[in-house]
Symmetry: C2
Subunit: 107 residues, 2 copies
């Protein structure tokens, strides 16, 4: 039973290019994790809709280990910094997220 | 550039079992289409959230050909009948959908 996580990321329009750059040059930290299968970043065709970061794992425990790892912080460093910087400058966050998890029940 | 479609299906709670059954016994019509790569049905961990029908295609034109095909009607026959039956009996539709399309921009 594959475990799937989806992070629905709504970007400020002016941040979209940076967002795509961050993922096209991602650190690859997640790929080293046990139980990680693959991930995809989906760009919405409709303006204003969220991007989807979809990750496939062998089981939920593998995903949990990732979120608690040093690698997780390394893998998210630039994005976290962008958010932190906006916060300190009193600006709107460049992106917000809604996180959901799923089980693959049919293929 | 892989083209991805996601159908976000919100089921009436009492229809969820039937919904899962329909996909676990699906006709396999889509698999025969040119440009079709694979599909996954995702069951949400959180109650009340939609199921996701995620399909990967080589290009949007292949997906469009599928929606216009005889196979599309065959593949959706039972689900369409369930919706039609509820309509005729004046009941709430067993499921509603929100359809979105995407491009894979990073893996």
């Amino acid at each position: 039973m594959t475990f799937v996580t989806i992070n629905y990321i709504t970007c400020q329009p002016e941040f979209a290019e940076r967002f795509e750059y961050l993922f096209s040059t991602r650190a690859g930290e997640i790929d080293k994790m046990e139980g990680f299968k693959y991930m995809e970043v989906l760009r919405p065709a409709s303006e204003g809709k969220p991007y989807l970061i979809v990750s496939h794992w062998e089981a939920e425990e593998h995903f949990k280990a990732w979120t608690k790892s040093e690698a997780f912080l390394k893998g998210h460093r630039r994005g976290f910094e962008d958010i932190q910087k906006a916060k300190e400058e009193g600006r709107t966050p460049p992106m917000t997220s809604d996180f959901q998890t799923y089980t693959v029940i049919a293929t």
